[in-house]
């Protein structure tokens, strides 16, 4: 196939990549601020359906109750992030969450759970000093995304569904963004969407690990495109593992998906393959210890080999009141039952599972990036959460910054502005990258995925050391080379999932390389990053964060000092009496 293939060109004022909390809020805010702007949302699946905001179970952290405060939420976020958060971003998060939650409830029509007296219910969530998590049962994300999507459908906002972004295209002179090269997955055709502003809101999604929670469409596409454009990413070693994902055996899509944290909070027990509890060996809080500690305890037990049928461990609720379990965890109980597991009266096999990437594109509190015209929000970005994200700060992050991005874009650009010329060489290079497997004889691709999963899980996952990371680096280079020898049938490019699997793996391998590089550089343990060879937090006062870039096809690495712009380690913004 020649690279001189026809590429259809479309124009829009604002192109939004992704339709989770960040993308949809970006679209609504840009349109509200300036209805004359033509706003287009492009998404890899169906609008409001793919991506992870929809999958949020826990809820939305926000300091709106009497006795809580912006400062308290901020301190919890920074303490949870082990002091490497960018503090102006964390502050923006906790302050603007208070606006966004009321926008969700009052303007978009979300109805969050209430107390019997009609006030909004806020539940306890791990790692927080105040019960501040607003929620809708254990399926909060469905409510948020359904309400956002129906507002987007009702507006003059263009939709490009089943369109995957493959490259961020700079202007010919390199001074700003010119648009995005996309593949219309339904036809397989390339489309260049030229735009004055592009919002990167594809979500991260650490699906390079054997066990992972995110939606199956997520493959770090935004981060991979950002690396190829030359952007700086930070904190890439920080991959959060959730302690309890389902495990149902080989070739089961449901494996890795979460059953929620609240089960442990409500008194659930974790058991090994002999049905013995083990968490007390690792932390006096037992199963109620934080996500990172429980995940590491479970990983160690699995390495010790006393495991259940599929190599995982068990969670059980059967010693608790069955009616409480059925009522409080309705969604989880039904989900388990459909898959043949009894969460109320049985033992459900679980495994720690890769959940969220704290790292991502370096961006500013107004969602601008180092490239004019390119904005970023949500899990594609880094710096808000530092080394660890609090449960309930994820959907707050995507919705807060998505809305801000829309506001900023509407301020920065004018409708129908003259669009800059795109860099045609960058387009050609991206087309070549995407079409190269189509020029080779078709071969099986699945072994690359399974090897990537196994090696990232074993060598660059919950517990890492210098030797395992060196192994991972070598493996990733080998897998990348292997992928480059594998062909995909290009006879029919319409809805060709196997072609997209190839592209997904290409992105996952690249982003995995940046995870491994950053994890190698951080010689201490904090938050989600645990080095068996450096098991302690080191030198908190002089904390640094990692940055990676892609240069000549190699990941280059640096470290930068954290700017404690609001509060230093050991200090607090709370009055001592209130702390």
């Amino acid at each position: 196939m020649s690279t001189n293939i026809q590429i259809e060109e479309l124009k829009t004022d604002v192109l939004i990549l992704g339709s989770g909390g960040a993308g949809l809020f970006g679209a609504l805010h840009a349109k509200a601020a300036n209805p004359e702007l033509e706003v287009t949302v492009a998404v890899k699946g169906l609008l409001g359906k793919c991506g992870c905001t929809r999958m949020v179970q826990g809820g939305y952290n926000v300091a709106i109750a009497p006795g809580d405060s912006t400062e308290r939420h901020f301190m919890d976020t920074v303490e949870g992030g082990k002091w490497i958060n960018r503090q102006d971003l964390a502050w923006t998060l906790v302050e603007q969450a208070q606006v966004r939650i009321r926008e969700l409830e009052n303007e978009l029509g979300c109805y969050f759970d209430r107390n019997p007296d009609g006030t909004v219910h806020q539940k306890a969530f791990a790692g927080q000093t105040f019960d501040r998590t607003v929620h809708k049962g254990d399926l909060t994300g469905i409510e948020i995304i359904n309400r956002l999507a129906e507002q987007v459908w009702a507006r003059d906002i263009k939709r490009m569904e089943d369109h995957r972004a493959v490259a961020l295209i700079p202007s010919k002179d390199g001074s700003r963004i010119a648009g995005v090269l996309m593949i219309d997955m339904r036809s397989g055709a390339f489309r260049l969407v030229r735009a004055s502003a592009v919002l990167l809101a594809t979500g991260g999604g650490p699906t390079m690990y054997k066990y992972h929670t995110p939606s199956g469409d997520k493959t770090c596409d935004g981060m991979a495109m950002s690396l190829r454009l030359g952007l700086t990413l930070r904190d890439m070693e920080m991959v959060q593992f959730h302690p309890t994902g389902l495990i149902a055996g080989e070739d089961t899509r449901i494996t890795g998906t979460i059953i929620e944290e609240g089960l442990r909070g409500a008194g659930g027990h974790l058991l090994d393959g002999n049905l013995e509890r083990f968490m007390h060996k690792y932390d006096e809080r037992g199963e109620r210890a934080t996500r990172d500690i429980v995940s590491r305890g479970m990983f160690q037990e699995m390495r010790n080999g006393v495991t259940a049928k599929h190599g995982g461990l068990y969670i059980t609720m059967k010693h608790l009141d069955p009616s409480m379990v059925k009522k409080s965890f309705k969604g989880m109980v039904e989900r388990c039952a459909d898959c043949g597991f009894d969460l109320v009266g049985g033992n459900v096999e679980v495994v720690p599972t890769a959940h969220y990437m704290m790292g991502g594109v370096v961006f500013e509190p107004d969602c601008t990036t180092e490239i004019p015209g390119l904005y970023a929000a949500g899990e594609d970005t880094g710096g808000v959460h530092g080394a660890n994200r609090l449960g309930g700060n994820g959907v707050a992050n995507s919705t807060v910054f998505g809305g801000i991005a829309g506001d900023t874009i509407a301020k920065d650009i004018k409708p129908n502005a003259t669009l800059v010329d795109p860099d045609r060489e960058a387009i050609d290079a991206a087309v070549r990258l995407c079409t190269q497997p189509l020029e080779r004889p078709a071969a099986k691709i699945d072994q690359v995925r399974t090897k990537l999963w196994e090696h990232m899980w074993e060598d660059a996952g919950i517990v890492r050391d210098a030797a395992s990371l060196a192994r991972a680096k070598g493996t990733l280079d080998e897998l990348d080379a292997e992928l480059d020898t594998i062909g995909v049938s290009g006879d029919n490019l319409a809805y060709n999932l196997t072609w997209h699997d190839w592209l997904n793996l290409k992105n996952l391998i690249l982003v995995s390389k940046s995870v491994v590089a950053a994890a190698t550089a951080r010689e201490d343990s904090r938050g989600a990053h645990f080095r068996a060879d450096y098991p302690d937090v080191r030198d908190l006062e002089n904390s640094t964060y990692t940055v990676v870039r892609l240069k000549d096809d190699e990941i280059t690495l640096g470290t930068e000092p954290v700017d404690f712009s609001r509060v230093k380690p050991g200090e607090t913004l709370l009055d001592e009496s209130a702390a």
Binding site: L108, D117, D251
Partner: protein
Amino acid sequence: MSNTIQVSVWRGAEEGEFQTFEVPRQPSQTVLDVITYIQRNIDPTLSYRFACRVGVCGSCAMTVNGRPRWTCRTHVDKVAGDGTLEVAPLRNLQVVKDLACEMTEFFDKMNRAEGKFHPTKTRDDDFDFIKPDDKKRKQASAGIECIGCGVCYAACDIVDWNKDYLGPAALNRAWTLVNDERDGGNDVRLAAVAGDAGCHACHSQQGCVEHCPKHLSPTHSIAGLKRETAKAALKGLLGGDD
């Protein structure tokens, strides 16, 4: 349990044919797993859509042995007693390729039914006090957990006969809003659902109720809309005859 399962899968678009595959049985296996196995191991050209894998997004609904179902949460044991499966795209929606449908008309009908919140307050206001056991709130909450999977839409014979019919999901959403004390859009909403393609077109055949994977009752919601639109018509609130 046989070690394999015979799976007939629709190939093509509106025109096409079934193709048969033999897939190994696993103890814990959903219909989506079977389809995935075929694409990964037997025929890499098979097309289907899925996202969340766990019954949250409503992207993966298909027709399984003649019934619309969410495939990610449908265990093979439940539907393939005789060791065979037939998997086709959803009825009543245009087929993109193989098992993937175009869902735009389904989403557009949500909008045509005014299935969106009309705010009466802003982000500068506090939350309303609404008790969870408030009668109207309970009516709204009863239908609110719809994930928009399109299973009810595919199950509905009225949609099959009348392509304009708004369908169970859109009308169910409208009913949740009619009961939402915070909403200010009921005049336009009742007018939107009162026409020939709206709630009165429903014959209460309950295909939607029977198939909804979330165990919602759109038929109940539509009955509520019928009552409210009739009341509004008596009061002369619906404007013209649409």
